[in-house]
Amino acid sequence: MCESCGCGERTLRIEVAEGLLSTNERLARENRAWFERLGVRVVNLVGSPGAGKTSLIEATVKALNDLRVAVIEGDPETRRDAERLSRLGIPVAAVTTGGVCHLDARMVHRAFHALEDLRPEILFIENVGNLLCPADFSLGEDLTVVVLSVTEGEDKPEKYPQAFRRARALVLTKVDLLPYVDFDTEKVAELARRINPALKVFPLSVKTGEGLSPWLDFLRSLL
């Protein structure tokens, strides 16, 4: 406070009450409006490194070969996953985040410019492998799907509740490995539903094809 001395300086206090991520949220709303205008359904896949996100996209894209599908692939350093998906003959836009642990709405916006003209019906966004940070950054997606492999342990919903709270579906991958790991799919589904009662759960294996149909039906029901 300097008002009494006559030097003209004064202190201004302003009430802001604005979210730290309000810029990202605004950009996410713009993305959503853009996606809606083009009639593209957007699925944001989040999960730990190695949960099987890329493999799930591969299997899903192969099965949905009557639809126009595109992928935005987020990776901290490499373009390896994007190259892997390009080999399926689908349009892929790679986002190398430069070490950043999540995608944000701006990155998705820039990446989608390369895919817009292809008029995809479904856009999969593979987020950076991480179960924590992506939960805070809305991308303008229609829904978030958590991908959790049975080798990761049953405690993940409790440890990362934000991701499960914001998701519409949970895909439990690698169920062909269930005989070899301590993982009770029912127990995990119940735990996840305590956090998010509306969560849809899809246990599946892309290796054996088990459980893939309900997941594909769910995706088709979004169109």
Binding site: R10, T11, L20, L21, S22, P161, P197
Partner: protein, 114 residues
């Protein structure tokens, strides 16, 4: 890493406000972090201190950090209760609930010299 992204968003907001108000410097600001947000206040503070050392405009800005406790409302019976995302309603046992408080990541107030 997560906290680093959040403090850089915070810095953008602060610098934008400073510009808008034509302020000479930012003296103090208040941030509220909800306990359900998944953000660790200590990591957030550390990330802010690292950032501040690299941004002359924030060098004198003091951050007041407060943690907002979680509060839910039961969708079934309307009871209001504390707890976490796993907690059922203590009155009726239902799991459907909305978070009334605890999810915020908020810049509440800024004090500047103009």
């Amino acid at each position: 890493m997560h906290e680093a992204s959040l403090v850089s968003a915070l810095a953008e907001n602060l610098l934008e406000l400073k510009r808008r108000e034509g302020a000479r410097r930012i003296l103090k600001f208040k941030v509220e972090i909800g306990e359900l947000s998944g953000v660790d206040p200590e990591a957030f503070r550390l990330a802010y201190e690292v950032l501040r050392d690299n941004l002359p405009d924030l060098r004198e800005a003091e951050m007041e950090l407060s943690l907002v406790p979680a509060r839910f409302r039961c969708e079934n019976c309307g009871a209001s209760f504390p707890g976490d995302y796993l907690a059922p309603c203590p009155d009726c046992g239902d799991l459907e609930k909305v978070a009334l408080a605890g999810e915020e990541l908020l810049l509440r107030e800024v004090e500047m010299e103009v």
